[in-house]
Symmetry: C2
Subunit: 75 residues, 2 copies
Amino acid sequence: MTGYVPTYRVILNDLRKSIASGQLKPGDKLPTLSELADKYDCALGTARRALEILLETGEIIGKQGKGTYVAEKKL
Amino acid sequence: MTGYVPTYRVILNDLRKSIASGQLKPGDKLPTLSELADKYDCALGTARRALEILLETGEIIGKQGKGTYVAEKKL
DNA sequence: TACGATTTGTTCGTATGTATC
DNA sequence: GGATACATACGAACAAATCGT
């Protein structure tokens, strides 16, 4: 089984793994939407969906015109 | 000022208010995507965006082919 | 059993706006 | 002004699950 995993979930999991492992540290800039879409061979909207969840949960911070960054750890 | 509020945020806030006020109780069925899109005069995708956030945060539960329901309060 | 209608779930494409560099 | 990048919104297509006939 293992089931089907939607693309946006794959991206979401990968990013969370990168943050948890310290590969991406607080303040670090994440790949752009274009880079993610290219890496996972998906549409921009699909890549964005992963980021939207991380944004909503406060795990990353989006800065218009600049990029998205790993949020500072909150206690 | 007062700032612009995106449509999906308006829907999100309204639904959260309905849940917090008890107007929508745990187990209750939420309006369908079509109904929300109709009520707020927006596209299905925009209405869905509000629900996706509530789904991600566990505030509601989606059941394919049936509808979306207010989640049981967790302790 | 089979079919259609309904509803949620995923993905794509496009357009426009806003902010930064 | 132009290029880059995030933010919102629309439309469309298809899959999967459910329900009623």
